[in-house]
Symmetry: C2
Subunit: 258 residues, 2 copies
């Protein structure tokens, strides 16, 4: 099984409930954020004003569960292995499909994710520590404020990957090709510059070692918009469950600017 469509069918039919990392290599996976139409403009504007943490791939029309651009044959109500449902900003359930919760005023946003540039880094011979360790990438809430938009505001959340200093240029060259997968790093080096106190205590995910000759490199993280949406205490919101992404029909290489 290789194509995103085949994997989405497996997921839709309940045969795959696990994280999606490594599925359908070469195809872009996406973060999902679903908000009521009343909040869609503010969220879309938040993404426009914060393109590195919020690289938009597709936005559905109200009530339409089909991402017409990113995967015309998919159904966002059933094609992710696990969802998170928020009411008034609180996580209330983590179901494996949301057909029963779907409403005709819901707008779905798909955002590029780090899997795209991590695969490209590996192809380029750059190690990705959390994959070596078999754990989640460490994520940190920074003191860098996102540009607010209506109901949505909050700090930039970043992910960290240690990079051998001699491969820094390569990392920027590779990531510059994927502006719709968070693009180039937002910071290199001293975590304090972002207001991060202690690398071994990430706010999300797992800590990873930074070895001799390596420097911590920080990327804008897709948790940023989810955190801003949760902080906005929307009456209702659906998102993917961490690591349980949506498999698009877009190739990783489509995540440049067409």
């Amino acid at each position: 099984m290789n194509s995103p469509a085949e994997w989405r069918k497996e997921i839709r039919e309940g045969r795959w409930r696990n994280p999606t990392a490594g599925l359908a290599p070469g195809y872009a996976q996406a973060n999902l954020v679903v908000v009521p139409e009343d909040y869609a403009y503010d969220f879309l504007l938040f993404c426009q004003r914060n393109p590195k943490p919020c690289p938009l791939l597709d936005v559905t029309d109200p009530g339409d569960p089909v991402p017409r651009y990113a995967a015309p044959g998919a159904d966002l109500r059933t094609d992710l292995p696990r969802y998170r449902v928020y009411r008034d900003g609180e996580l209330v359930e983590e179901p494996s499909e949301v057909s029963g919760l779907w409403r005709d005023d819901l707008v779905a946003f798909l955002l590029g994710c780090s899997f795209t540039f991590e695969a490209a880094l590996l192809r380029a011979g750059v190690p990705v520590r959390h994959l070596e360790c078999g754990c989640n990438v460490p994520m940190y809430v920074t003191r860098v404020a996102c540009r607010p938009a209506g109901a949505f505001a909050g700090p930039l959340v970043v992910s960290m990957r240690p990079v051998p200093v001699h491969q820094l240029a390569r990392v920027f060259e590779v990531c510059a090709r994927y502006p719709r997968a968070h693009g180039t790093p937002v910071h290199v080096g001293d975590p304090a510059a972002l207001g991060i106190r202690d690398l071994v205590r990430p706010d999300f995910g797992d800590p990873v070692p930074v070895r001799g000759g390596e420097v911590p490199v920080f990327w804008a993280c897709g948790v940023t918009p989810q955190a801003a949406a949760a902080a906005a205490r929307l009456p209702f919101m659906i998102a993917h469950s961490p690591g349980h992404m949506f498999l698009t029909d877009l190739r990783d290489e489509d995540l440049g600017w067409e």
Copy 2:
């Protein structure tokens, strides 16, 4: 006089009513589209779905005439040398300021413009024919449909610049650096592939000669969103007058993806 702020002051105080090409070199100029809040979501979504013709630089909050990101010290009601005012899709006046027409429900969109990549092409030694000829760039309505968004739909409008075949790669390399200034060309060669019948009869602007050893190269054009907005027959819309752009504080080099 060199800085965008100095030029905006000249314009605001009525001392400059001419086209803005060549003013404040090195700084990005922008297309302006102002629509009522009721249409802002659809227009923002239209831009998200059609990033090459509609590369968003900034979106103001309703009623706010200040582009907080692109030029925090500017006033969009007075700082362009000439505006176009549309009612029900019809051009009704072309004033030199719109303070008296401003409303607290207006949302302004600033979009990157071709001046940015034309300056970069000249720096790279690529000739720009319409500048050599001292005329407007030729623009054509294509049979390529934009991805619609709510009230907004319509064909892609392109601009054409003849390029010596041996400089094609250079053109793509240069333009790839400016995704927020229409980015890379959308087509090279046969105009018929875009549904363009006759290069010597552009829909807007002036025809330019394609010489021996040159190939016509087509870029997505900022007229596209204005045409879609006019076709949507919005009750009210303000745009810049062709060639009379807004001078931002952003450098041309900022029009990559930050």
